[in-house]
């Protein structure tokens, strides 16, 4: 029972802010003027004819994909570090040695990516 009550206030704040955001989006379409203009509904490209966009956004550099992959690796490392840090004092030297082994293992991959130029953005 107590556990539920700790999380319930988050839900209250979430409902409150969702209500505000939805009301704002709806209100914005009601309060403003509506005058049809063909050019205004075009994609904005500083006044020139918009570049035709393929459905789904088209291609973009593979660099972003690589960044996302690397992010996942390090994010998982962080998720392992958090509980370890909280419980560090009861783990003591054992916990330290274990974590050094883990960080070194991930660091090997990191050094490899660095050497292969995966962290360079040209």
């Amino acid at each position: 029972m107590r556990r539920v009550n700790v999380y319930a206030p988050i839900l209250v704040l979430g409902l409150l802010s969702t209500g505000f955001a939805v009301v704002s989006v709806v209100a914005g379409s009601l309060t403003g003027p509506k005058r049809y203009n063909r050019a205004r509904l075009d994609a904005y490209e500083c006044g020139i004819e918009p570049t035709p966009q393929p459905v789904g956004g088209g291609r973009f550099p593979v660099k972003y994909y690589l960044t996302a992959m690397l992010f996942i690796i390090f994010d998982i490392e962080i998720i392992f570090l958090y509980p370890w840090a909280v419980a560090f004092d009861s783990l003591g030297l054992f916990g330290l040695v274990e974590m050094v082994l883990f960080i070194v293992t991930v660091f090997v991959a990191y050094a490899y990516v660095w050497r292969r130029g995966g962290l360079d953005w040209d």
Binding site: S24, S29, Y44, P50, A85, V86, Y110, L119, D120, D122
Partner: protein, 461 residues
């Protein structure tokens, strides 16, 4: 409980104080309070930013609407509401409308676990000045704020336009890159506090703010939080010269206002997190914290009741001022420089620092050593290393730029050494005229095959 006097921390991951026992009306009251606080902070921060940047640029800034222009942001908001709400023809309509909601809601929700102060009395109820707290409060904040990235990505993707798509990609790559450094900088704090609960972390900073022993973590966090909120000098997703407005180029009216609101609330949130984790949260700064301390009141006068809200808001506003200051001072970084700082400096430095902190702590738990001195020294050394590495990069770049300028100064050759247009018969290359005083062109000349030498050069040889 203080950081340096205790040995092993008890497993104190549970929040300090009682949470989850408030009546419903109090929960709703606190939630509305947080909502109003964030909206007012946003309105004030926008005004504050425009006034301060104006002063830095020898302008006056908005001063017409309300006293000192305080109501300017409110007037701007009303004006935005009266503007046409455009949904471009190429847009994915549903996602386009959903994206601003998805950006704004998590920004509000992250504030649910922020401690405004200690226990106070509201209408006769003793309650903590904090909506709620969890054993994993800081993790919750990170989780909720990363949902905001979806709002940005979907806004750019659904606009059906080139600039928003590029802005959204940049923005998401930037936020996830700096989130790693940000997440790593928290580890040392959890190690010291033995908890991820915000109230417990503030509690552990009674005698010593974590920014002092964990200075490198604090600096890394301060850098990462600017990147995380897409603010200058890391405001690449909104680089006007390259991307117009970035991911919100196609948005207008109150949908645009929601993105604006989300950005400023995120600024307030990261500032609050910095305050809570590193600067003692709502605790009074040092000389003031001693006012009224006696055996009956160990917390002192200014750390009880409603006073802490004042320190809390003051500390947040210091961070917001630094945000504005950075924007008024520094030029925008290039994208490759920005990514290099994140991936090649902040991440390895924070990993090394975590290991250093853990090693020192593990060693001093058993061996009696003046841990505070040790930490201040190690922290100082690492902070110096961090600053030197940044300075080294800047200097190396400047040297490179200076070197590039020096090369043509050694002797400008309008005929480019006879390549690609060889000299006409009877014409001589000007580079060889001052051959005796210019060793650079002499070396270049001697390296050339004999066939291309002109008569003047041949005579000298």
């Amino acid at each position: 409980m203080s950081v340096h006097t205790l040995g092993r921390l008890p497993l104190a991951y549970q929040p300090a104080g009682t949470f989850g026992t408030d009546p419903w009306w109090l929960v709703v009251l606190k939630a509305v309070g947080i909502f109003v606080f964030l909206v007012v902070m946003t309105l004030l921060a926008i005004w504050w930013e425009r006034r301060v940047v104006a002063r830095m640029q020898h302008r006056i800034g908005p001063n017409r609407v309300g006293p000192q222009g305080l109501l300017q942001s409110l007037a701007d908001g009303i004006k935005l509401a009266l503007k046409e709400d455009i949904v471009p023809r190429a847009a994915d309509k549903v996602v386009f409308v959903l994206a601003p909601v998805l950006a704004a809601v998590p920004a509000f929700m992250a504030y649910a676990v922020m401690p405004f102060g200690p226990q106070v009395s509201i209408f006769g109820h003793r309650t903590m000045l904090q909506l709620t707290d969890l054993p994993v409060a800081v993790l919750y904040v990170i989780a909720v704020t990363s949902i905001g990235v979806y709002g940005i990505v979907l806004a750019g993707w659904s606009s059906g336009s080139t600039y928003p798509l590029l802005g959204a990609l940049r923005s998401s790559a930037q936020v996830i890159s700096y989130e790693i450094a940000m997440g790593l900088s928290f580890v040392a704090v959890f190690l010291f506090a033995g908890s991820m609960s915000t109230s417990q972390i503030v509690n552990q900073q009674t005698n010593l703010w974590f920014a002092i022993p964990l200075l490198p973590s604090f600096l890394i966090y301060a850098t990462a939080m600017v990147g995380e909120t897409n603010r200058a000098p890391f405001d690449l997703p909104e680089a006007e010269g390259e991307l117009v407005g970035g991911f919100h180029t196609e948005y207008s009216s109150l949908k645009f206002a929601l993105f604006f609101l989300a950005e400023y609330i995120n600024m307030v949130t990261v500032s609050t997190l910095a305050t809570t984790l590193f600067l003692g949260g709502w605790r009074a700064p040092w000389p003031l914290s001693l006012v009224g301390v006696d055996p009956a009141h160990p917390e002192g006068l200014l750390n009880t009741g409603w006073w802490p809200v004042l320190w809390f808001i003051a500390k947040i506003n210091i961070f917001i001022f630094v945000f504005i200051w950075l924007r008024g001072t520094l030029p925008r970084l290039r994208y490759d420089q920005f990514m290099r700082i994140g991936w090649k400096i902040l991440i390895p430095v924070s990993l090394l620092w975590i290991l250093a902190v853990a090693a020192i702590r593990a060693l001093t738990l058993d061996i009696t050593l003046d841990r505070r001195t040790l930490f201040v020294w190690v922290g100082g050394v690492l902070a110096v290393v961090f600053v030197v590495s940044l300075a080294w990069d800047t200097l190396a770049e400047r040297r490179g730029a200076a070197g590039a300028q020096d090369v043509p100064a050694a002797g400008f050759d309008p005929m480019a050494g006879g390549y690609p247009v060889p000299p006409l018969p009877g014409q001589s290359l000007p580079a060889y005229a001052d051959l005796a005083v210019s060793p650079v062109s002499a070396r270049a000349g001697s390296a050339e095959p004999d066939g291309t030498r002109d008569p003047v050069e041949g005579d000298d040889a």
